[in-house]
Symmetry: none
Amino acid sequence: MAEPAKSSPLSELRIALPSLPMRLQEVGRFVAANDYDATTRSMRDLAAEAGADPAAFTRLAKAIGYSGWDELRAALTEARRPSQIAPFSVRAKSRRHGPNADVALVTDKLEAEAAGLPRIPAQPIAEAARALHDAKRIWITGYRSCRSVAELLNYELRLFRPEQVQLVGVSGPDDLDLGAFRPGEAVIVIGFLPYTHASVRVAQAAHRAGATLIAIADSLSAPMAEGADHVLLFEAASSPGFFPSLTGAIAIAQSLAAVTFSLGGTAAKKRLENTEARLAAASIYVSEKG
Amino acid sequence: MAEPAKSSPLSELRIALPSLPMRLQEVGRFVAANDYDATTRSMRDLAAEAGADPAAFTRLAKAIGYSGWDELRAALTEARRPSQIAPFSVRAKSRRHGPNADVALVTDKLEAEAAGLPRIPAQPIAEAARALHDAKRIWITGYRSCRSVAELLNYELRLFRPEQVQLVGVSGPDDLDLGAFRPGEAVIVIGFLPYTHASVRVAQAAHRAGATLIAIADSLSAPMAEGADHVLLFEAASSPGFFPSLTGAIAIAQSLAAVTFSLGGTAAKKRLENTEARLAAASIYVSEKG
DNA sequence: CAATTCGTGCAACAAATGTTTCATGGCCGA
DNA sequence: TCGGCCATGAAACATTTGTTGCACGAATTG
């Protein structure tokens, strides 16, 4: 296995963890999960809380290349030390070129997207959520990269309205679903430039069928926004890079789901609890440990 | 002696400072200025650096109402403890009613997520992108709500590396793919609390096969982060509402794709152009009209 | 099945920690 | 000037710290 850059003692620990004896894995996990206590409290103290032998900590440190627990803790302490000079020094020194050009690209991107989120109009989202709340059935559409947004929305809505939410095109060709739209139902279409023919077709079908059309798009003049009852705007081109940004669309989708759930009241809450109980019973999730 | 509002040990110190003997003032100022070292390093060590007598630290602690240096340090340690994300307090807060309660929920959510994005560590993303660039093949995994993130990443990476990127589990049961992992390949696993067994299985299989493991998770102690060569952290619980937030994970995925594309240089650019040309030829997109 | 390695808990070890005591020296009031 | 007081440093103290040697048991190997 290749050496993956000795960035932090915690990552060294993580990497070595799986190849360690069982007990050492336990204490290793404990250290990773409680690294602040690891730097401040004593070895024996930690051992008592972790329910392990104090010696295990020393052995762990040696197993991952340190001379002893003291040295490991010193490394953790340094890694945790609050950085005195904050973002500007990093930002100024590594613009565009140099070895850190990639890092600069990432920070620029994240900042741009963070700046874009508060510009999303909230009012239309709340109104659209009410429309979803009133809808007898909810269809969701998104193609190409927007498919991920559609699926997330589908997933979250189905957590508390399982029988009434459906992705367009999952159970056969899209066209079969298009004929099923009815008044009183809601159809969500997600898309941005360049717009796919398929998404426009869905929007038109929804409009023609008299269903409530909700468009999540990057522009009011997007073709699937024509005739839409609710248009939720986000900025797809706000961040640097070559692909349009979906962060805004995801944020909208999640807000939409959250408000819709909130409108659902205790009934929605109960259905969510049922769903979660079923998932837990099927032991889908890794149980949390003390 | 009056209790001076036990807000923080540091403020107690500052208040009592002027009425202390000269040497104790010096030591007190040193502690206030280096409180991180005060919690991590030993008393004698600090004394050496401050140029003072070790006993002065004990006397200082007693002078401001503690039983000894140990107790003062414990108080400083607790005051410095990183605030573990408290979703409940956020949820319990201002459950505002009235007509605009829904709008307020949306704006709160968007602002919280916007605040979370710049906190994402950029360096690991850049390093992980380089690993992807070097990988002969890229596998992507995400279950439940993380599936959407996995699919977005899959989509964007396939735009310029179509033959080398694959979602785990699309062409049959996951287990078939798990056996296909090879050294020199990269496996991306996305997940957050509660963690699914399936994602942990994939991560372990990747590690066992000697493939480069990249984990996108909400915690360093996430089970799929064990043994990972790269861990990309985001805050799933940062925003109000009942569902964990995927905005950070999406932002990471997009940054990862962008940097990987950037590393690909002209070759990647050419492949992307080919893909776009093919899509255009199939008239997937609505042509832009004046 | 025997031999051996390896992982693990226990207990004793030396080193380091925080505390206390004691001696010194400066300061102020009588 | 004397005597008490307090601040201060150095050294001795008991305690706690991290470490290591040892024994026992499980897993592995020949």
